[in-house]
Amino acid sequence: MAAEAKTEPIATRQAYGAALVELGEAHEEVVALDADLAVSTQSIKFGKRFPERFFNCGAAEANMMSMACGLAATGKVPYCSTFAIFAAGRAYDQVRLGIAHNELKVRIGASHGGVSLGEDGASHQMIEDIALMRAMPRMQVVVPADYNQAYRAVIDSFEANDEPMYLRLGRPATPIVYKEIPETLAGGVDVLREGKDITLIATGHMVWRAVEAAESLEREDGVEAEVLNVSVLKPIQSGPVLESVSKTGVAVTAEEHRVVGGLADAVRQVAAEQHPVPIFAVGMGDEFGVSGTAEACMEHFGLTASGIADRAREALLLKPIVSRPPLFGPEWT
């Protein structure tokens, strides 16, 4: 079954289910676990195709993660799915000791990340999972931008390496950024649009919004913005980030997540050490989510194309005051 690239908006979690079936067909050791959210996470697709390799654990996420530990320690490759709030929040210690500390090849499909989960509200909107999982030793963190990239991320997760991996997926249908299913995640940083004035660095659901922001900056301000998609937040590939910010001298990050511990911090860390430039952040402040439609929630917290563009305008005002010429040549990594 050749994977089919999507063209219309579709949720990244849909790619999780579809790609999992492909993996299951190719590799007998792939098993899937879920916690009574198999339809929401789409692991149901795997469950229907390979019922004997699918374990629905019911509403018991801690048990699921520790079960995955046992399965992986015994030669299987478990894909565990539930909402991000429960994968990273509820079962943190189980993931930490059983999976990360043991350096086991377990893939966590954390669906419904961010506030675009929508109506269920703050209790379900996970906005600090990237921070938690970045901080967890050995854990890799992947946040695809659209369905096609998510499909690649799930397929590649099998071959990539044997380290644990956290994949953040989303609930709402999301516009397509990658016309085809990419050949590879290419280290996890893609330049989607070139520009010389400012770098917009986005992840997940904010990537298409960053592209839109760049278009509006060009249209309305004559600003040429470069757009980077960071799909692998850990380990973050510093080369392309440094190359871009050393060219533009100023950047804005955009994520559907707390600005603490997420993409903003990851990028700032890279830049601060090797090429400090002002980096403004679009993301969640010190607050919880609220109930509303996905789009209304995104707007409520300024997680929009215009939110990114406005932040870019502020950053551009500052640029002549604080930007410096490059300190080093282009090879920092």
């Binding site: 009574d36 629905n56 018991a60 109506e119 269920d120 109930s291």
Partner: protein, 338 residues
């Protein structure tokens, strides 16, 4: 907001023409079983309305718990909507927080906040969040929504009440679901409640045998939940969770016990709306306008019947639920679910 919901008749909640006659906070009125059944219908109607407007939420989960919630709020709980912080009050915790609409309906009808607020459910800027939020909604004791945490929260409340010398006065009622009983934390709380010698905790399990991915038996069989609680040192009974007299009796009995009490209610998910009752496929899905219209027609007809038979003089304050058992049950389809 309601313009595109043409097929659904009257979506706005209306004040109950027969509200409860409360005698004051300390001494709740004792409405009859028939009255309570009528209020359960009233609350179910507002759940349908709320979700039809919100186009999001958990309707069948709310309907399942309607009789339990009506029994608690309209009869069993000692509470005062005019003084939500009254220290002596009984506490209600919706451990299965996704059924928030049924609690919101009860709170609104009893005067914790305006009825119109029900129509803001799950919308940006509205007070009524997808799951109960203690900092936004009057009458919500603690925020819930993550399954398995509720019973521990109840236990914490019990311990605080004991420190305040209120353990004899205030009872804590938690309403749990199948999913709650699958979470290990619930059993940590069960162990701890017995260990700490808690006497004012009632866990009411809305055991409807359906969850997100299928029947509880298919997804993760929780087995004999009553026997489990008993094995954890609780007083544990099992009842028909839509038999109002039995629900009231079990709830009131649980107050007097010297141990934590579990009431396992065999219930039917979607109870009260025939098209949904006991059927898989509705969890977490708002009703279509057609289903909402059908549900409202069915529930409103029932409300009319119940109101009519009450008008015949069944409104006896102080009626004992055991007496009312004979006179009350108007519901032809209230057989215990298997």
């Amino acid at each position: 907001m309601t313009a595109n919901l043409a097929p659904v008749s009257h979506l706005r909640p209306v004040p109950d023409p027969q509200p409860p006659s409360r005698k004051g906070a300390g001494e709740p009125a004792r409405p009859s079983v028939a009255e309570l059944e009528r209020w359960a219908t009233l609350l179910r109607i507002d759940c349908v309305r709320m979700l039809a407007v919100a186009k999001s939420g958990h309707l069948d989960s709310s309907l399942s718990a309607a009789d339990i919630v009506a029994a608690l709020y309209y009869r069993v709980l000692r509470h005062d909507p005019a003084a939500p912080e009254w220290p002596d009050r009984d506490r209600f915790v919706l451990c299965k927080g996704h059924a928030a609409p049924i609690q919101y309906a009860a709170l609104a009808h009893l005067g914790y906040f305006p009825l119109e607020d029900l129509m803001g459910l799950r919308q940006i800027g509205a007070q009524l969040q997808g799951h109960p939020d203690m900092n936004r909604t009057s009458g919500v004791e603690v925020s819930t929504g993550s399954l398995g945490q509720g019973l521990s929260m109840c236990l914490g409340i019990c311990l605080a009440l004991r420190l305040d010398g209120l353990a004899e006065t205030a009872q804590v009622f938690g309403v749990l679901s199948d999913g709650d009983c699958q979470e290990g934390q619930t059993w940590e709380a069960a162990t701890a409640a017995a260990h700490f010698g808690i006497t004012n905790l009632t866990a009411v399990v809305d055991y409807n045998h359906l969850q997100t991915d299928g029947t509880t038996e298919e997804v993760m069989d929780t087995g004999d939940v009553r026997a489990k609680f008993e094995a954890f040192g609780w007083d544990a009974v099992e009842i028909h969770g839509h038999d109002m007299a039995a629900v009231v009796e079990a709830l009131e009995r649980s107050r007097a016990l010297d141990r934590p009490a579990a009431i396992v209610c065999q219930t039917t998910k979607g109870k009260g709306v025939s098209a949904m009752e006991g059927r898989f496929g509705f969890h977490g899905k708002p009703p279509s306008p057609e289903l909402a219209a059908e549900a409202l027609a069915e529930l409103e007809a029932r409300l009319e019947r119940q109101t009519g038979s009450l008008g015949a003089g069944a409104r006896e304050a102080g009626a004992d639920p055991a007496d009312a058992l004979e006179t009350g049950a108007d519901d032809p389809d209230s057989d215990p679910p298997e």
